[in-house]
């Protein structure tokens, strides 16, 4: 138990003095993404190999939080030299220990390779993916074993809490947050300080503070990375918020689909309690605060705050009308303040560095940094933290390294299922709350899905509306019925059954669903439809009028055909066809049976590009198959 400010600082010094200044530290990303690509095996192999080579006294191996470069995981960083090895496999471990740890030699093939073959980057910070970021929040992830509170304390952890408890009045804390101009990172973008003020001033003795970690947007995992990788930063923010607002109880609402986040947050709470950073009389200040974890049971709408509150009370999460806002009537009817994970994680930074420091990042009305989850058709999939105001082009090309496979960029979709698609002509907009809204998209919680020429924008709209229709709680009819009808029309269009007037009907439905729905789910639901119609109307028209999918993506509108002139009867497509729809043999030109073909595209994908024998057709009929008697392959040279 740490009972005072002095004891906390003494304790911190104790942790720091125990660190071996000459020791080697090997950090392996143990976030869910890297674990899925085998990080657990790397950690085990490293420990085994280090012991085998007798280096266990000098080397410390740590499973850490996610640094964000998921594309090249599993990631291993070796300190103090900051050597960054990418895509490490268990078979590389022996060499890492004997060469790099023992002999201080680099292993070239594991380093980041630049565009030129010989350009290798050694240090993590010099890799272009990281170099163009401002990693205030996720930068510490790779330095911290999230299951070890001492790692967080070693990086000045809980110093902001100590500062608040002993040097600031609650009003001063609220003022500082107001001055920082921090806005909610969960999607709403509401000023955090004003929200805190409302909850603080609401009458009542019992108040609650809540971490909204019900991150449900598909393709977005920013919050998970912070929860898994640096849970104490969120807890510290939450305790500071509780002190400022006057709450003595809090909840972390985590979706149960994030088992590792649940585990790490649970451990962090227990350790903070043991250290006297949570519970009664925190750090001897007289302030009491306890936190419980609540697992979400899988409902996207529970990210909406009134739904989240009902879910916390053990009920189905069906949103209610606001006002009253949770700040006056929240959990169990008491004043409640709910902020998103990333919002809470910003608080200790603002307290320690001051509102002015925070204001130096960002644009006029959007301050600070924002973490984006950059995914889809992008070379560098991962988490990206940049100051507000960076252009989309910089994110996609400088950090993301552009589109893979030489394909052409088509759009970026931001803001989750209720966000919008931004086409190439707007790639130079500054990414902040207001600029994104101007082009018909939203910031949302930070999902950023890159789409290339193979992505059909009508299908994307159908995908999101389908998602929202499934997740609509059904309480209010505009959302329930509006989404259902939009889903039906969009499905018809992508299946070749669209008709004239569908686009106008979609627009009308989108407008009424958006203006009449009860909560944000329905109110923002039109975005994917309206933004794709706004920028990609020609794609809708091609589907409706010509029954043609310009991206060859909508299965029902695409057929595959093997060009008898180009087929070399190599058997490759035939072997890869899971439904045996291709006939032929060596020396016999291959033919697709259109009745059996499921349009899975395997044949098109496996046919070597220099043959290019598998052709796609959309909006026109497939040529008749070549007659059986002409299928015997004639050697090209003989034929001439």
């Amino acid at each position: 138990m740490i009972n005072s400010l002095t004891e906390l600082e003494q304790f911190r010094q104790g942790i720091l003095s125990k660190k071996d200044p000459d020791g080697i530290r090997v950090s392996v990303c143990a976030g869910a993404g890297c674990l899925a690509s085998g990080a657990g095996k790397i950690i085990a192999a490293l420990n085994e190999e280090i012991e085998k080579q007798g280096m266990q006294d000098r080397v410390l191996v740590k499973g850490t939080g996610c640094p964000g470069f998921c594309e090249r995981g599993p990631i291993v960083v070796i300190d103090p030299d900051e050597i960054c090895y990418l895509q490490v496999k268990p078979k590389d471990v022996a060499a890492i220990v004997s060469k790099t740890l023992k002999e201080k030699k680099l292993i070239d093939r594991l380093l980041y390779a630049g565009p030129g073959k010989d350009e290798k980057t050694v240090r993590e910070a010099d890799i272009p993916f990281y170099k163009n970021q401002e990693r205030n929040i996720i930068g510490n992830n790779i330095k911290i074993d999230p299951k070890c509170i001492d790692d967080y304390l070693a990086l000045d952890g809980y110093s902001a809490l100590a500062k608040v408890l002993f040097q600031m009045a609650p009003e001063q804390v609220v003022d500082e947050v107001k001055k920082s101009n921090l806005r909610g990172r969960g999607g709403g973008g509401f000023p955090t300080g004003i929200k805190w003020d409302a909850a603080r001033n609401a009458p009542g003795d019992t108040k609650y503070v809540i971490v909204n970690a019900d991150e449900g947007d598909p393709g977005a995992f920013m919050d998970r990375a912070v929860l898994e990788g640096n849970p104490h930063s969120i807890l510290e923010g939450l305790i500071i918020g509780a002190y400022a607002i006057g709450a003595h109880e809090g909840y972390v609402y985590v979706r149960q689909e994030y088992p590792l986040a649940l585990e790490n947050v649970g451990i962090a709470i227990r350790q903070a309690e043991e250290y006297g950073l949570l519970g009664s009389n925190i750090l001897g200040s007289g302030f009491d605060f306890k936190v419980k974890v609540h697992r979400g049971a899988g409902a996207f709408v529970c990210g909406e705050e009134t739904a989240l509150l009902l879910s916390l009370e053990g009920k189905p999460g069906e949103p209610r009308a606001r006002p009253p806002f949770p700040a006056t009537r929240g959990l169990w009817g008491k004043p409640t303040n709910i902020n998103n994970v990333e919002t809470w994680a910003n608080i200790p930074l603002i307290v320690n560095n001051g509102a002015d420091w925070f204001n130096q990042f960002g644009t006029g009305k959007s301050k600070g940094t924002k973490i984006f989850s950059l995914v889809g058709k992008i070379k560098n999939t991962g988490l990206v933290e940049v100051p507000m105001g960076v252009t989309l082009r910089d994110i996609v090309y400088k950090i993301g390294d552009g589109i893979p496979g030489g394909k052409k960029f088509k759009a970026v979709q931001t803001g989750g299922p209720a966000g919008g698609c931004i086409p190439e002509e707007h790639l130079d907009i500054a990414v902040d709350y207001d600029e994104l809204a101007k082009v018909g998209a939203i910031m949302g919680s930070g999902g950023m899905i890159v789409m290339d020429e193979d992505t059909c924008m009508v299908d994307v709209a159908r995908y999101f509306i389908n998602f929202l229709a499934q997740e609509s709680c059904g309480k209010c009819s505009p959302c329930r019925e509006g989404l259902k009808q939009m889903q039906r029309i969009l499905t018809n269009i992508t299946e070749g059954n669209g008709k004239e007037g569908d686009i106008e009907l979609l627009e009308e439905l989108a407008m009424s669903t958006g203006s009449a729905s009860l909560c944000a789910l329905g109110r923002t639901a039109p975005n994917p439809v309206l933004s794709t119609i706004r920028y990609f109307r020609h794609e809708y028209e091609a589907h409706i009028r010509e029954k043609r999918c310009p991206s060859y993506s909508c299965e029902k509108l695409v057929s595959y055909y093997i060009d008898p002139q180009a087929c070399t009867a190599c058997l490759l497509c035939l072997k890869n066809c899971a439904t045996d729809a291709i006939s032929g043999s060596r020396g016999q030109i291959h033919v697709i049976d259109q009745a059996k073909c499921t349009r899975c595209r395997s044949c098109y994908d496996v046919c070597p590009p220099h043959y290019g024998a598998v052709l796609r057709f959309s909006g026109e009929s497939v040529p008749e198959p070549i007659p059986v008697e002409r299928r015997t392959l004639v050697e090209k040279s003989k034929a001439i």
Binding site: A32, Q256, H294
Partner: protein
């Protein structure tokens, strides 16, 4: 069904009606589904009407009212996986297993479900079978992978 399991879980949450979702999640994790008898026990112990329990278990996706197969397939249908062709993977799984999402086959081999996002977009399209992630899927390889399970 072992009723002591249910009792232990309810006791862990002090029998509070406000913990209904947490209790149901624990039972789901323990038994891998929610048998009717278990729900009746919860209703009685917590003094919560069965109608509210039904409302809750059908509202949240984590709950299953039917038993699960030996191998649970969770195919990611997140946006990143979608633009990388997850629909074609789903169709292949449906063809190979004969299942639609939400179904379990008669000999209890596979249960198929789709999930909104597994959050490992770098290796998408991705599915999870028995808590193991299988990434960078293409239709024909997916069919081959599924044949390995028995």
């Amino acid at each position: 069904m072992d009723s002591s399991v249910i009792e232990r879980i309810i006791d862990k949450h002090h029998g509070e009606a406000g913990s209904l979702i947490q209790i149901l999640l624990d039972i789901q994790n323990e038994l891998r589904w929610l048998p009717g008898a278990a729900l009746e026990m919860v209703a009685e112990k917590l003094q919560v009407p069965m109608s509210r329990i039904q409302h809750t278990v059908t509202f949240y996706k984590a709950f299953s009212l039917v038993p699960k197969g030996r191998h649970e397939i969770n195919l990611c249908m997140g946006t990143a996986c979608h633009v990388r062709g997850a629909t074609r993977i789903l169709e292949m799984i449906e063809t190979v297993t004969g299942l639609q999402p939400g179904e379990t086959d008669a000999d209890m081999k596979f249960s198929l479900d789709t999930v909104n996002c597994l959050g490992c977009c770098a290796i998408g399209p991705v599915m999870e079978i028995d808590e193991q992630h299988l990434g960078k899927l293409v239709p024909d390889r997916t069919a081959a992978l599924l044949k390995k399970y028995d």
